[in-house]
Subunit: 374 residues, 2 copies
């Protein structure tokens, strides 16, 4: 058995589910905080878990370079290495090589690149990516895919997608099945419905434990993204988890859950926390803004996160202005909590068949803007 | 009543005591972590308290500029502003103006300077410093003194010290007595025993709730520092707490406690944590060193701090090499714990009349170097 997925309830296309892994269950729809280099930036693992996160994402590209997959394996895997006992999903490394590394060379076999750390030469093939993720002890391994650039012509997108499908097959062949560990395929095809359908169909034929939608949130806009989801999801198996990679803003998550997506990852809550942004029910606020200087209220009086129950906006503004490290931690903490609370709200709404009402309240609050003047 | 000090037991010159403040008791000898800008850098207040710290230090210079004393007062004082419910000692601002600010002008009245933040002009007099510390709600207010440069001739040191004594008197006059709040004087006089005696005597005549020894750890070396302590402490009242400002390394603390010092503050554990250094019973180790790369042991297997009970040297090395913020937190955490454990050990040793034995073990372990090879 691999990762077991159970659908508990549906509301429209949205699904309330549970994904079981060797390191525990994941309630879906789920948001995965990003722990790029074996740490969710500026947070202890206990604090991450405290926000409600059940699974985090690790980046194969960063980890294979530092500290190295063999080293992580000697430490007993990524869970032990970084003190995160819960489930971990790792990406394949492909996206980061293609977006961060300019010294890369693509071929049918895979991609070669030079390390940004020490200039050493590395090769990543579908087989090698699966092997690395195995050494990291990742609960959910992602297939290596070629990230189609955006924009791309239909012909470019087709060629790229078909190579990714051949790589998906090789990844499946390389993957060693174990209880509580799964392999996810990734649908590509750019913004072209026929290609997305072809890709979904190819992956279904190979057979995966879950299906990701890749190549979105790369500049195409929310409308196009939702349109691609609408035209892709019907072609995916209904009894497997669906993962929208690298997405997104709170509104993206709500819209994608409504379309049947079960899993998300995004750097937004932590990266925004490190750039002085706080997410609230009423939209995003910039803690550098001088209007917070004398504000004794928390970011959100209704939020029960550690930050909101212990610190004022005025104090957070002070930390941000003095560039104190605690400010990065407290804003990341709040934002991760906000994302997890949003997912909890979505799960609850699906359970009660109230997703439309939840969505309406969510949209109205976001439009209302900030909590108002002091 | 101000801050009440009780001496529970002595061992040689060393004293086990308790200092009662409006925000709780402080077991002495005590080490105060430095929370310069209303935060102990990279640490939550709960984590700081978890290491055993009962009191922290705030810097008047930084706080008067940002966020400003009036603002802190509006937030209910520094305790509430920064979520530290325990006792707080604040320095007078003088040391930082003189060491950090080159745009200063000294006179008999006080010191004027320009803010490093926005260039605005500020004046700090003994009266103003006491007023600011009152607004911060500091439990222990320090008198403004002129920090005698090192080295200084005896004449320079005498003139500077005598001005500080006049300022001490003005500080006392300005201080508003409240239950659980105290005012400490500061002995100056450089490395000149006669001046130190004169200074101690002048302060005693004014009468303070505690007596600090200032102007040390500025480059004179441990031998000279201990010599100054030996020649200063006998002239201080025995029934009041004694505070050695800005000190120091673990060996400095042990030596100073043996000479009758009750309180310390120093940036070393937190600053060292942010420069990849870890304190251990066996001396200091640099976590950047490649020998830690595959080391699955904690910094110190006998340490029960959060860092040592959850993370390996190999992981800490990885965090340091990747410049991850969590590394700064985990090393600061361990170092603060180390300092508090050292103070706890000293208190226990005094309680049991075993300070000589404690000191011998401390010295032997420090000399042994690191815990040895993997």
């Amino acid at each position: 058995m691999s990762t077991e997925f159970e659908i508990i309830k549906t509301d429209g296309q949205a699904r309330l589910g549970s994904l079981m892994t060797a390191h525990g269950p994941i309630d879906t729809p789920a948001f995965m905080p990003v722990g790029t280099a074996a740490t969710v930036k500026a947070m202890t693992p206990e604090a991450v878990a405290g926000t409600g996160a059940q699974i985090i994402l690790g980046n194969t590209y960063h980890l294979m370079l530092r500290p190295g997959a063999d080293r992580v394996q000697r430490f007993g895997g990524l869970h032990k290495f970084m003190n995160w006992p819960g489930p971990i999903l790792t990406d394949s490394g492909g996206f980061q090589i293609m977006s961060l590394n300019e010294l890369r060379k693509m071929s049918e076999d895979g991609v070669t690149f030079r390390s940004h750390v020490d200039g050493s030469r590395h090769e990543l093939t579908p087989e090698r990516s699966v092997e690395i993720q195995h050494k990291l002890d990742s609960n959910i391994t992602m297939v290596l895919d070629e990230c189609t650039p955006f924009p791309a012509t239909e012909e470019e997108a087709a060629m790229s997608m078909r190579r990714s499908m051949r790589w998906a097959k090789r990844s499946k062949n390389a993957f060693i099945k174990r209880d509580g560990y799964g392999l996810f395929g990734i649908v590509q095809g750019g913004i072209y419905p026929a290609l997305r359908e072809e890709s979904a169909s190819a992956l279904k034929d190979i057979g995966f434990d879950g299906y990701a939608v890749g190549g979105l949130a790369v500049g195409e806009g929310q409308d196009v993204m939702f349109d691609v989801l609408d035209r892709t999801i019907p072609h995916l198996p209904s009894n497997r988890p669906r993962y929208l990679m690298g997405v997104g803003k709170p509104g993206d998550l709500v819209g994608a859950v409504r379309r049947g997506i079960d899993m998300f990852d995004c750097v937004l809550p932590t990266r925004s926390g490190r750039t002085n942004q706080a997410f609230t029910r009423m939209g995003q606020i910039n803690m550098r803004n001088a209007r917070h200087r004398d504000d004794q209220r928390p970011i959100d009086p209704k939020c029960i996160c550690y930050t909101c129950t212990h610190y004022s906006r005025g104090y957070l503004h002070h930390l941000v202005m003095t560039k104190e490290l605690l400010g990065l931690t407290l804003l990341s903490w709040h934002n991760l909590h906000y994302y997890q609370e949003l997912m909890q709200g979505l799960r609850q709404a699906i359970a009660e068949g109230a997703l439309d009402a939840f969505t309406a309240i969510f949209a109205a609050e976001q439009q209302a803007g900030d909590l108002g003047p002091v």
